[in-house]
Amino acid sequence: MMSPHVILRVVSKVLIPLIIVYGFYVHFHGEYSPGGGFQAGVVLASAIILYALIFGLDEARKVFPPYWARVGMALGGFIYASVGFVSLMMGGKFLEYAVLHPDVSHGTGQHIGIIAVEIGVLTTVTCVMIAIFYAFAGRTPEISDEDW
Amino acid sequence: MTAPRDSKAGMHPLARPLSGLSSPRAGLIALIVIAVLVVGGFALETVLSDGGLSKYPEVYGAYELLPLAAAAVAILLGWGLVWLISRPGDFYSRAAGDVTEGQDD
């Protein structure tokens, strides 16, 4: 099924890569300025959601299968917790980022740790947003559109 | 004999010799015997009261008359009681039941 809104399709095709790039921009700023995994995750998810709105849910599901969302949700949490375990294994305490890199004076370990953790957050938030969207959008309406 | 015709049928062998016991006459005879015993005993005690028959002299009233009075009063009061507090046999079961099966709320 092809949507008749040509302008929308063209514009969104231009916008979606930008949104994704902006999402990553927000994400990598999260470490020292407003931003971070939460916000970036929502932005990233909005790219997929926009795609789904314009090209239809089925197309979107081909681009980003629902199963990915489920795995991604889990993966994000896993990444987050893994950072904690990695720092444990490197001799620190749970989630002690300082041990992740020997350069303590510049706090390199802290940077690495935060970014790694934020990646986990990003993954989860993105996938959760998409999963929620799929769940709502995939629901068969109780009243069909014709009956309104 | 006014007893039912089949009164002997089905009786336990040991009870056969006693089959007359249920006739009204036997009851009357027993009653008379008991009455004689009671009256006789009362008379005997009155005559021999100094002979140590009276059990507890300091207890009021005639000891041997107590049961008569007590039982008679009790039985007669029983009528009042029946009138007062007896109810049809299904009195309790007519109520909604003692254990309420609760509804699932």
Binding site: - | M11, H12, L21, S22, V59, A70, A74
Partner: protein, 574 residues
């Protein structure tokens, strides 16, 4: 004492009975169960004999409390002995029955009664006290009718309530005195009063007695035999232990001895008649305990001992009648002597014991109490007891014998009771006569030594007059058809209080509570919906969220509780 037996020295007889009961529950074959039912009491009896020395055995240290599970002394020996004896007799009597539930229950019931008697502290007592309740209930439930189910539940409720009160009282007592030991308590404290009420509930104190005539007639034929034997006598033991010489007990006992007279006369169910007679017997014992002293306690013990046996005999007789005819209603029975002459003989022996005819066990036991009352100069009590024994005991006994076995022949031609039942009844009947004739045997096991001769001319003579006089009145009443007996009537008793009034008021209370709850909810709900109405215009369709209950109610309660805490906190001192 042989060596084989002396191993058992210090082992509580209760465990034999309880173990046998548990095994009986577990064993699928009825032969095995019957054997267990005989072996349990025999083992218990052996243990009873083996432990010759009085003292405390079976001490269980549980940390905060020390449990004395086997305290053997003069008082506990008597009760334990008669409990063991009757459980054996019951085992013989019940040989014909095939019911796993009641077989095991009867044994455990007996065992827990023995255990309770031997309990040296109140926690052990409580444990066995509740166990008697739980183990005896199946004897009523086993009948299987809905009516029996309900009666069983009521019975259980009362019994458990008694146990709970006992525990509560014991806890208070322990916190006051620092000891859980079960010795003389007295009514000097609230704890004592609660304990007495707890015991009184099982002993059938006036107004607390209603479960006895309610439950006993509804048990199985065999069940009512054991029911009549243990629970109430156990309570008498507890009273004798804790409240000997308590004056209030004399009054209570007298009421118990006298008021059943009307019920004995009017009740149509013969087992109910016996249940009321039982209350009267208990009244005698309670009076004896209230009188106190060696003679009084001995009198209570002797009465309990003899009473267990002859009441059990009477219930056995009616159990046999119930088995063969299917009913024990006075108005449906009559002339049974023709088909059950042997049972009739036992019934007469039992009745003579109940009446207290000389040469029967009732006589040697009852004269002790009368003597005690007389000796302690409770003249009014004495007179009333004489009255009660005329009015209640004798009428009940006469009534059972007359209406079931003589009286109007209803043409019931049934088989004589099974041989095993006869054997059980014969054992009990033998004891009734044996203890009556050979009274030193009975007096020998009593708690206190005494030199008492029951067979004095005056006593025998007086008692005979009492008997004959009552018989005369009974006969006259029958002859002139003055006996107030009606078929198919329910005689109200104090159980009306909870079966009708209590039930109704509970329903009423529940309904009112619901109304109140609803009313509060409505008033508050009205306020909320007022606010919501305003909000509704802003946030339309409420949809799924509009369901107010229980979330809304809950939010409300949360707010109320918050307000409560805040208020309390606000007015609290810093």
């Amino acid at each position: 004492m042989t060596d084989a037996v002396s191993i058992l020295n210090g082992v509580s007889p209760a465990w034999f009975l309880i173990a046998a009961g548990l095994l009986a529950w577990a064993s699928p074959r009825s032969e095995l169960r019957k054997a267990l039912m005989m072996l349990g009491p025999i083992g218990a009896l052996a243990a009873w004999f083996a432990t010759g020395e009085t003292g405390v055995y079976g001490v269980l240290d549980l940390g905060p409390v020390v449990l004395e599970t086997f305290r053997l002394d003069g008082l506990s020996r008597v009760w334990a002995l008669v409990f063991i004896l009757i459980s054996f007799i019951n085992a013989v009597y019940a040989l014909h029955e095939r019911n796993r539930m009641t077989d095991g229950a009867a044994l455990i019931y007996a065992g827990s009664a023995v255990g309770a008697v031997f309990a040296g502290d109140m926690l052990t007592l409580f444990f066995f006290w509740e166990l008697t309740a739980l183990a005896s209930a199946p004897l009523i439930f086993a009948v299987g009718t809905p009516e029996a189910q309900r009666a069983g539940l009521r019975y259980l409720a009362i019994q458990v309530l008694s146990g709970v009160m006992l525990l509560g009282g014991a806890a208070m007592w322990a916190s006051q005195t620092g000891s859980w030991a079960f010795d003389a308590i007295g009514t000097g404290s609230w704890a004592g009063i609660i304990l007495m009420l707890a015991i009184g509930l099982k002993a059938g104190f006036p107004l607390l007695h209603m479960w006895i005539p309610d439950a006993y007639p509804k048990a199985t034929g065999v069940g009512s035999v054991v029911l009549s034997a243990f629970t109430t006598k156990l309570a008498i033991y507890a009273l004798a232990r804790g409240f000997a010489g308590e004056d209030a007990l004399i009054v209570i006992g007298l009421v118990m001895a006298i008021f059943p007279v009307f019920y004995v006369i009017t009740s149509n169910d013969l087992r109910q008649t016996l249940a009321y007679a039982l209350i009267n017997q208990l009244g005698f014992m309670v009076v004896a305990i209230g009188v106190g002293g060696h003679l009084g306690i001995n009198g209570a013990a002797a009465n309990a001992f003899a009473g267990v046996i002859y009441m059990a005999l009477m219930f056995m007789v009616l159990g046999a009648v119930l088995l063969r005819t299917g009913t024990v209603k006075a108005t449906e029975l009559g002339g049974l002597y023709k088909s059950m002459p042997i049972t009739t003989l036992f019934a007469i022996i039992g009745a003579l014991s109940v009446m207290g005819a000389p040469l029967f066990s009732g006589f040697v036991a009852k004269t002790l109490i009368l003597s005690a009352a007389h000796h302690e100069h409770h003249d009014l009590a004495y007179t009333l007891l004489v009255y009660a024994s005329a009015g209640v005991m004798e009428i009940s006994a006469l009534k059972v014998v007359w209406f079931a076995f003589f009286g109007k022949d209803r043409g019931l031609r049934v088989k004589e009771a099974p041989q095993t039942m006869h054997l059980g009844m014969a054992l009990a009947a033998f004891l009734c006569v044996f203890l009556g004739v050979n009274y030193p045997a009975l007096y020998g096991v009593l708690p206190f030594d005494m030199d008492y001769k029951p067979y004095k001319l005056a006593s025998v003579y007086g008692q005979s007059q009492l008997l004959l006089g009552t018989m005369l009145v009974f006969g006259l009443a029958l002859y002139f058809k003055l006996f107030p007996l009606k078929s198919d009537r329910t005689i109200l008793d104090a159980d009306w209080l909870y079966r009708r009034f209590g039930d109704a008021s509970a329903r009423w209370g529940a309904a009112m509570g619901q109304l109140l709850f609803d009313a509060i909810g409505k008033v508050l709900g009205a306020f909320i919906s007022f606010v919501r109405l305003r909000l509704f215009n802003l946030f339309s369709p409420a949809g799924a969220l509009s369901k107010e209950f229980p979330s809304g109610m809950m939010a409300l309660w949360t707010a109320i509780m918050l307000a409560g805490v805040v208020l309390v906190a606000y007015f609290s001192p810093v």
